[in-house]
Amino acid sequence: MRQHKLALCKEHYLEWIPEQTERFIKKYAMFTKAEKILVAVSGGKDSLALWDILTRLGYQADGMYIGLGIDGGIEYSDESKRLTEKFANEHNLKLHIVDVEKEYGQPIPVLAHVSHRGKGKPCAVCGLAKRHEMNRIARDLGYDVLATGHNLDDEAAVLFGNTLVWESEYLLRQGPVLPARDGLARKVKPLCRFYEREMAAYSIARGIEYIYEECPFAEGSQSIYYKELLNQMETARPGAKLTFYLRFLEARKNGNLFIEKNTAAAHLHPCPKCGQLTSTDDFCSFCRLIEKAAASTPTG
């Protein structure tokens, strides 16, 4: 780990990652051992590693898997579900499974197609549906906290993208913790200070079986392009990604950004249909998507 000027053997690495995770959980006041945590698990390296770490640390962490109905010739969703269920069974953990097609009538690629969102790719609809379902399940089942496996590369790529176009409202909201609001659970990212490569190394060293295949729709995506650019910088200047993200958090906390500190400036109100927060004047984007899909799907 050149960014930390640290070299560890496998045994100590497997201790170091959970210790550091615990440190970040406390530093950012993410949650306590008395709270109920719902971990969003995709079958990938980050979310399975997060679930593994939290249970090892003694937190009350249940899992939630969202079936997206993506095949892409590699049975992507089926395989990721199989690996998630395998992990849950092997560790005797509670897993909630939500299937988008069963819940809303269509899988993600069809929802994206009929709603004409996302310029031919389902990624925007997929992200929207996942956020909606994570919030819904956490709220309906009474979880205090929703934890996701976002790593530092994910966070740095989002920050990079938002900075390129000065998305001040998004910059205002980005961070390791999104506080609970209006019945929605607090959202936390306990792995946000680990490099993607560190999490892959943890999963491999721990023997976690995760889906190696990338989502078939991810090829050529903007986030992967930003990650590749940041990795080129990281190769030339070890620590560049970490500094980029941590200095942003520091600047935001200290009020040193050009944006206003007051998050109330971001106008959000509950959707009249589902109750989740939205910046639109009427139904939220997800409810409008489902209405549009229902209207365009032939009945009978």
């Binding site: 060293a205 992967i224 590749e228």
Partner: protein
């Protein structure tokens, strides 16, 4: 010679250089992969030996 394998692509590299140098030679961003040999992770400063077969696992994900 040593061999690097990333997904379905194979890269022949000279033995005697470090893994880091071999990755750069093959135009692979070191930060984007984890290298393994016979299931065990290989560090970037390790010198490749003749006949080494290094499997590279892509770590970038997202959409």
């Amino acid at each position: 010679m040593a061999k690097l394998i990333l997904r379905n692509k194979e890269f022949d590299v000279s033995a005697g250089m470090t893994l880091l140098a071999a990755l750069k030679k093959a135009n692979i961003i070191p930060e984007s992969v984890i290298a393994t040999r016979a299931g065990e992770m290989v560090l970037e400063d390790e010198i490749l030996k003749d006949g080494d077969v290094i499997k590279l696992i892509a770590v970038i994900s997202g959409g």
